[in-house]
Amino acid sequence: MLEKQLTGHRVDRSICDWFWDNAVSHGESFKSQPVIASPTHYLFQVVREGITFLACTQVEMPPLMGIEFLCRVADVLSDYLGGLNEDLVKDNFVIVYELLDEMIDNGFPLTTEPNILREMIAPPNIVSKVLSVVTGNISNVSETLPGATASCVPWRAADTKYANNEVYVDLVEEMDAIIRRDGVLVKCEIYGEVQVNSHISGLPDLSLSFVNSSILDDVRFHPCVRFRPWESHQILSFVPPDGQFKLMSYRVKKLKSTPIYVKPQLTSDAGKCHVNVLVGIRNDPGKTIDSITVQFQLPPCILSADLNSNHGTVTILSNKTCSWSIGRIPKDKAPSLSGTLVLETGLERLHVFPTFQVGFRIMGVALSGLQIDKLELKTMPSRLYKGFRALTRAGEFEVRS
């Protein structure tokens, strides 16, 4: 348990005890409650990879502000520590505290931009660890104030220098789809992000435009994006932060088809249920579809399962999660999974049906069809290396049976 007191009136630690008592007694349902009204405080809770982030307040405030901040803290921590788990947090206690110190002051978020934080507090690495052990100096807070705090572009340091200027733009898309029991595609949309990794000297001013920006249904921007050019010409004009960041996220709705199909069939009779799942390519995106997985949760009324596939491996975990990893679809045959489930005694047929979650990845293709037109550097004429990539993977791709 880590705690950071923010305001003068101390929050009693007993609130955490209260929280744990309830979390233990109520189990899962309590954990999924983001806003909790305890007898003395209001708690905001974000759970990330087994670590619970709690914020508490006694007075009215926008709850999303609390939640959003906790999410940022989680992001930054996992960025710094290279993952999130109890041991990592324990090992890097000092850094976590330093980060919290910088991120929030008196209950109000201060610096949450990861790039700036990186300048103020050096991320842990082996050298610094060795150094701190040898010299006994444990501070890794930089002595000078980052230049950005004073500039008008708070997300960027003024004096970055690179030998060769590079900028990489990645389109990362996730496909959300719901396929109904009768095989009808009821919802199919793409959630995409434009991720930029920039290593450019000075204060560059970039502008990025798309070939077909009209297909974008909705967008959200990094604070560095200027709104006006987007409103008028759908051009992203921005001064990029240094390093990796998420420039914008977008959504494309109402897509017509999915790259692969998954056809589950469950027939039950006399206490047994026969399962048959077929997977295949529906319309070829032109690149290979790999790491295909199909996952589903066996209903609680099933005693045992015996599942086999003609391609890939099937594993059934102890919590009745069954996952079938296919990988790539072979040319000559369609992968299929078949087997029988034994139902609880007394049950004749299955009345609840699992939902199949599908995962896949396609490199080099943005399924939404979004294409980047050009990326221009306004301020400096210096040579700039530009790289573009695209990737599509499955988001919440569900097939009901």
Partner: protein
């Protein structure tokens, strides 16, 4: 240094901050702004004004970073000093997109408050269009009774959201506690009738600039900023522009699970008021298996609110899929949602009923096996019931099918529900009455093996059937009934025994007359009274719709209070429209001298909670009686000019006055009842069991129901009992009747609640012969009321 939090050095720090606030470096100024809330926390009363001054300076800053921090300081130091904003309003709006995101959240809220306080509501916005309808209502009919009726008809006409939205906007402005505490519509503050207080979004530049500058923020990466900006548009934007907020809000749903829940809670309110806003995007509320249960439930609720004729088929198909979900609680919710959808779109009734019937057929095979299955079945039957209720005669076959299946339905609550339907629709159509004898015999036969709730319901049904029976069957029914009664009187459970004795007494006449001789009509007078009572009790159930747990509390969108559904400490509703000084002078001159004093009360109105309430009600009475308020003034001449039914001022309070008073009391009590319901709904809401109370209601007798409606106590929310006005001196000929819920438990029954009724004679004349008349359904209250009445006065 401010972080040290020592009182001793505070003045020093203040001097330093003052200096730093004028520092050339942006970073220093920002830190100065950050230090302000810390200083404020030390509660240095003598420095409050200088703190505010510094806030003013910092708000005037031209660097966005400083302004963000200054906004935070403003919110904590002097949130009510809106005139500070006034100086820089325009510049703040323009700088808003450049402020850092956390500052944006705070600044948006401040600007919204300022705009409301300065200019009032926008004429084209949702909030206002509702006021329009409302004001036209009250102008049209003036009196309370009509207004209630009008409201009802509006509700039924499908324009349900008007009423709700009015409530929402009023809650925003006044805070729900205060709003709900006003029991009657006549006491509503009529300020919205004055067009002066409104501004047009098209002509007012301030409003326009606020909307213009917040709209790009809907694209923000920070979900809190999006929600805050959406809140501004929701309150201020012209009606046709509100739809702009739908997509960004839905997009936010794609971010983390926690924020998904919060956003959905807000969408839920928006969707209730304006279903058309989200109707085209219904697909976004389809449920993923990864959603947590709360999110699933919220999505279901939203789906059933926004369903339209065009989307219902696909939504309905989705629901069918949900029923097969392994999470049975969720499946039960989905079934209930089907019922809700049909209530809104009666066209789908037949398709839904078929599906639900198929469900009951299917579920009974496995009933009792899982814990969730019973719930699903129960919900299915409840949905069927609610559909039948809309149009009983066309669904006769459905009832018959259900009754036929009675033997195979094993879940007690579901059984009870079907049995209730038997009793309720016993005289419907021509097939049901014919099979009634068999059914009743069957029920009597299996009475002993039933669960408690089913037993009670069998008793009720038997009475209902008996009362509606025709001559020739009366004999059989009464015999069966007395058989059941005998069984019930020997039951192990005292509830059943009580019920049996109660019913026996009630129906003794009809029973006796039946049992003794076949000729019933010889004793009409004797039989009359209990018979009528019984009919009232059991016949009434058709009319009573089980009170839905309508959430009557609405808080500002995006606030914590909206999520936890009670006002968190520090929650402030929007300021009173046009409460800021500048426009007030204009208003005062327009409206003339009569309002001058009410303006004053309004002025202080936004200062604090409890006194606010006082002021508001004060304000209301002053407006409605034009000049007279309080108890010392007679006000006789003042209000007679308005209420022309009491035209003669010379009338002593005699029979006539009495009659009119009773009239008033009755009309008020209906409003009063509505309020009670809302209270109960609230409490059940707070207890977090929405919907679960519904099944019991149909089974309870009248007495139980009316008392259950005010389930004991106000959960310790109130320290001092709140006084609700039942009759105010303006309507009651100077008689002022207030009531409050007493904190002690009634000595008659734990289920009853003591109500203290205060009578006050505000007029100069003597009053006599005051009687309390309650509506039929208030019977339960009646007894206790009289008791405590004696105590009081």
């Amino acid at each position: 240094m401010a972080g040290i939090r020592l009182h001793v050095i505070a003045p020093l720090v203040l001097v330093a901050v003052n200096k730093c606030a004028r520092d050339p470096s942006v970073y220093v100024r920002k830190c100065a702004a950050n230090a302000l809330p810390k200083l404020h926390d030390l509660r240095l009363e003598e420095h409050a004004s200088s703190l505010e001054e510094v806030v003013g300076i910092l708000l005037n800053d031209h660097s966005p970073g400083v302004v963000g921090a200054a906004a935070a300081a403003f919110a904590s130091v002097c949130p009510n000093n809106l005139s500070l904003i006034g100086k820089n309003y325009r510049r703040l709006c323009e700088i808003l997109p450049d402020v850092e995101e956390w500052g944006q959240i705070i600044l948006i809220e401040i600007l919204l408050r300022f705009a409301i306080a300065r200019h009032g509501l926008v004429k084209e916005s949702i909030m206002f269009s509702l006021h329009c309808t409302e004001s036209s209502h009250s102008e049209k009919d003036g009196s309370d009774v009509n207004f209630e009726l009008e409201k009802d008809s509006v509700d039924r006409g499908g324009a349900y959201n008007f009423e709700l939205a009015t409530m929402v906007s009023r809650c925003y402005i006044e805070g729900p506690d205060e709003y709900l505490s006003r029991s009657s519509y006549s006491k509503r503050v009529p300020f919205e009738l004055h067009g002066v207080k409104f501004t047009s979004g098209k002509t007012n530049d301030d409003v326009k600039i606020l909307l213009h500058c917040t709209s790009p923020l809907l694209w923000s990466n920070n979900s809190a900023v999006v929600l805050a900006a959406a809140g501004v548009h929701w309150v201020m934007a012209p009606r046709e522009d509100v739809k702009r907020i739908a997509k960004p809000l839905l997009f936010v749903l794609r971010s983390s699970n926690a924020s998904k829940y919060v956003v959905l809670r807000n969408i839920q309110v928006f969707a209730k008021v304006l279903p058309s806003l989200f109707a085209p995007n219904f697909e976004d509320f389809f449920i993923c298996s990864s959603d947590s249960y709360q999110i699933k439930a919220l999505k279901l609720e939203i789906l059933s609110t926004i369903a339209t004729d065009s989307s219902i088929t696909s939504i309905f198909k989705e629901f069918q899929d949900y029923i097969r979900d392994p999470d049975r609680q969720f499946a039960a919710d989905a079934v209930a949602a089907i019922g809700l959808c049909v209530q809104q779109l009666p066209k789908m009734a037949n398709a839904c009923i078929d599906e639900l019937l198929a469900l009951t057929r299917q579920e009974f095979l496995i009933n009792g096996s899982g814990d969730g299955e019973g719930d699903v079945l129960l919900q299915a039957i409840m949905s069927i019931k609610s559909i039948i209720k809309q149009d009983p005669s066309s669904h006769e076959k459905v009832i018959i099918q259900l009754v036929r299946r009675l033997d195979s339905i094993k879940v007690p609550a579901a059984r009870a529900m079907v049995i209730w339907m038997v009793g309720e629709y016993s005289s419907l159509g021509d097939i049901i009455p014919r099979m009634l004898t068999t059914v009743i015999k069957y029920l009597a036969w299996c009475f002993t093996s039933e669960a408690l709730e089913t037993k009670l319901q069998i008793l009720n049904t038997a009475v209902k059937v008996l009362l509606c029976a025709k001559e020739e069957e009366l004999c059989t029914f009464s015999r069966i009934f007395s058989y059941v009664l005998e069984l019930a009187e020997c039951d192990l459970n005292y509830d059943v025994r009580d019920r049996a004795r109660f019913l026996k007494k009630l129906c003794s006449c009809s029973l006796g007359s039946q049992g003794a001789e076949e000729v019933t009509n010889c004793l009409p007078q004797q039989k009359d009274l209990p018979h009528v009572v019984a009919k009232c009790i059991f016949g009434k159930q058709t009319k009573l719709v089980s009170p839905e747990p309508v959430n009557c509390r609405f808080y500002l969108p995006g606030s914590l209070s909206q999520i936890v559904l009670h006002a968190a400490p520090g929650y402030e509703p929007l300021p009173k429209p046009c409460s800021l000084n500048v426009p007030q002078e204009i208003n005062a001159t327009v409206r003339g001298a009569t309002y001058s004093d009410s303006e004053e009360t309004d002025d202080h109105g936004s200062s604090s909670g409890p006194s606010d309430e006082e002021n508001a009600s004060d304000y209301g009475s002053q407006n409605s009686i034009t000049g007279s308020s309080g108890s010392d003034h007679t006000g006789e001449t003042g209000f007679t000019s308005e209420c022309d039914e009491n035209a003669d001022p010379l009338i002593q309070i005699s029979d006539i006055g009495n009659a009119s008073e009773n009239q008033n009391a009755v009309s008020q009590s209906s409003a009063d009842l509505g309020e009670l319901i809302s209270h109960r709904a609230l409490e059940s809401w707070l207890d977090d069991q929405p919907g679960s109370s519904n099944p019991c209601i149909s089974k309870q007798t009248e007495v139980n129901r009316s008392s259950a409606r005010i389930s004991v106590g106000n959960v310790g929310n109130e320290v001092k009992p709140k006084i609700y006005a039942l009759l105010d001196p303006a309507n009651g000929n100077g008689l002022k009747v207030d009531y409050s819920f007493a904190s002690e438990i009634s000595d008659i029954s734990r289920l009853l609640v003591c109500i203290e009724v205060y009578f006050k004679n505000c007029s100069s004349e003597l009053m006599s012969d005051i009687t309390l008349v309650f509506e039929e359904s208030n019977k339960g209250l009646d007894a206790t009321d009289q008791a405590s009445l004696a105590n009081e006065r």
